[in-house]
């Protein structure tokens, strides 16, 4: 099979007063058409940086990205992005927010057709009754539903999800994972998601790419996830392989959580480490695993507690 998306030798370097900070180095990844791939790793490891380079929101320092046979340059609506914060424009209704993108992509369609596209996707994500509300009137989960509808309504070549459910409570997160996976199954859009939630990764992905800790983050391990589709949460969790894969992922994360402090290498300033990202992302606090014993490190607890 041919590779639909190809990231080769992708590198991101930020200049800092203490010299260049290499966030991502020689990152290689190939994604097949229709595949759902998840990048998992600790906060600050550079996984979001990879995603935002793919989205065109962050300049590429070295290497390149090919999508559907063409090298990417800059952002564009051929990639639907779901941001961690819903990023809706507050002066527009849910409908208008989705329409903004639909107008861009389907500029040849009649206004009737465009309206139908917007209404279809908002209904599918469960906002049929709330599509003419402003974001301020919507709950966090509903806002993120709009964000998902906005991304899918573009009929993009690729879907990019940057910790899309990171700001939601676990019940809402489950609901939205279900919404996402069903839309994805119907549309068969190639997807790359960034998360640090092991269960989310296992439930949604075909392949999980573990990233080593930054600086100079690269691919550490790739896990194939063969649970049959369409997936149902209960069936996935009862699958004989589930806990083996889960243990494997957590073990990987724990090992890499300890690598950096042990190495004791001069680390780049944390501001350069996580450029232009909201502070709420730092769920797995790097400071936490410097002293905590392995089994009780806060991030492993939080990962297990999600279940």
């Amino acid at each position: 099979m041919s590779n639909y998306v190809e990231l080769s030798k992708l590198t991101k370097v930020y200049p800092t007063p203490n010299g260049p900070a290499v966030i991502v180095k020689d990152f290689d990844l190939k994604i097949q058409k229709g595949e759902f791939v998840t990048l998992i790793g600790h906060s600050g490891c550079g996984k979001s940086t990879v995603l935002s380079m793919l989205a065109g929101l962050n300049d590429i320092t070295g290497g390149g990205i090919i999508l559907a046979g063409r090298e990417l340059s800059g952002a564009g609506p051929d990639r639907g992005v779901v941001f961690q914060s819903p990023s809706l424009l507050p002066w527009m209704t849910a409908f208008e927010n989705v329409m903004l993108g639909v107008e861009q992509v389907f500029f040849t369609a009649s206004s009737e057709e465009r309206r139908e596209i917007v209404e279809y996707y908002l209904t599918v994500v469960g906002l049929g009754d709330a599509m003419h509300k402003k974001p301020a009137e919507l709950s966090q989960g509903m806002k993120q539903r709009v964000g998902i509808a906005r991304a899918f309504a573009l009929k993009p070549k690729m879907l990019l999800l940057d910790e899309p459910f990171g700001m939601l409570d676990s019940l809402t997160r489950y609901e939205l994972q279900q919404v996402l996976i069903e839309l994805w199954r119907k549309n068969k859009i190639t997807a790359l998601m960034v998360t640090h939630d092991v269960d989310e990764a296992l439930f949604l992905s075909d392949r999980i790419v573990c990233m080593t800790d930054g600086p100079e983050a690269e691919v550490g391990d790739i896990l194939e996830v063969h649970f049959p589709r369409p997936r149902e949460r209960k069936a996935v969790m009862e699958h004989p392989d589930y806990y083996r894969l889960r243990e494997h992922l957590i073990e990987f994360l724990e090992i890499h959580a300890h690598r950096r402090p042990v190495a004791g290498a001069p680390s780049p300033p944390s501001a350069g480490d996580r450029p232009a990202k909201s502070p709420s992302k730092a769920v797995l606090n790097p400071a936490g695993y410097e002293s905590a014993p392995l089994a009780n490190s806060p991030e492993s607890r939080s990962l297990i507690a999600i279940k």
């Binding site: 989205a55 065109g56 929101l57 952002a75 564009g76 609506p77 990639r79 992005v81 941001f83 914060s85 990023s87 424009l89 002066w91 903004l100 993108g101 861009q104 573009l154 232009a276």
Partner: protein, 264 residues
């Protein structure tokens, strides 16, 4: 709870007490410190005609107080409109472009504190060739130049404060420049812009009095200066009160508009 009914009307009662104290002090000063200051009663007696027949025109510089106010408001409206039309785009450029800011911020910071009284003669010189129109154009120039700055600076701050999230949306959807401007930048900046607009209106109203005084145009400010020269001191107080009340009303109106855009 005896004072309960009083508490209910204190929104009315307390300001009335405040006014009474003010008028009392004014009366006291007119009786003791300066005998030339007209007392409240005398002011009312001499201003009555101007207040009770507010739109009457008896001569160029002898008209009802609201008629004068109307002249002033029209001039303010024109100057204010010029200030907004120039100030808003300048603010946008300042907010959007770092090099534009580096280029023009120093000159803006130098011109901003210059008093309207200093600008006016320059305005008159600027339009010397306009003959009879010179005084109006000079006044408009002064109002526009002085009232522009809050709009410029607030718009610039507003543009700089647009969340990166919104800009990312525009980038990902590849919105054209025009569409980004009208669908993202302007709506996101509106609350700041209206704060600027409100402050600018306050300044425009301050400037009008100075402009009319120096040019002798009919209006509240012109009337004030003329009555000072004619030794009708009570009319000075009438004008001051009118200017204050009108300024207050304008500010309230603008803050109503401003609040509408804040919630949007």
């Amino acid at each position: 709870m005896n004072n309960n009914p009083l508490k209910k009307i204190d929104w009315l009662l307390l300001p009335l007490i405040g006014f009474a104290v003010g008028v009392g002090l004014w009366h006291l000063v007119s009786q003791t410190v300066s005998k030339d200051l007209p007392s409240p009663a005398k002011t009312w007696a001499e201003s009555r005609e101007y207040v009770m027949k507010p739109f009457e025109k008896r001569g160029e510089m002898d008209q009802g107080i609201l008629r004068f106010t109307w002249y002033s408001l029209i001039l303010v409206a024109k100057g204010y409109a010029i200030a907004l039309i120039i100030g808003t785009p300048v603010g946008f450029f300042l907010g959007l472009s770092k090099s534009f800011t580096k280029t023009f911020d120093p000159i803006i910071q130098i011109l901003r504190p210059v008093s309207p009284l200093a600008w006016l003669p320059l305005g008159l010189v600027l339009f010397l060739g306009a003959g009879k129109q010179a005084s109006e154009l000079g006044a408009l120039f002064t109002i526009a130049v002085c009232a522009m700055w809050p709009t410029v600076l607030n718009t610039a701050v507003g543009v700089r404060a647009i969340p990166q999230d919104y800009l990312n949306v525009a980038k990902v959807l590849k919105l054209s420049r025009t569409k980004t401007l009208f669908k993202v930048l302007i709506p996101a900046t509106l609350p700041y812009m209206f704060t600027g607009f409100r402050l600018s209106l306050g300044i425009a109203w301050l400037v009008i009095v100075a402009a009319e005084m120096l040019t002798g145009r009919p209006g509240v400010g012109g009337f004030l200066w003329q009555e000072y020269n004619a030794l009708n001191y009570s009319h000075i107080i009438l004008c001051i009160l009118t200017i204050g009340v009108v300024g207050f009303i304008l500010d309230r109106l603008m803050s109503v508009v401003e609040r509408r855009f804040k919630t949007a």
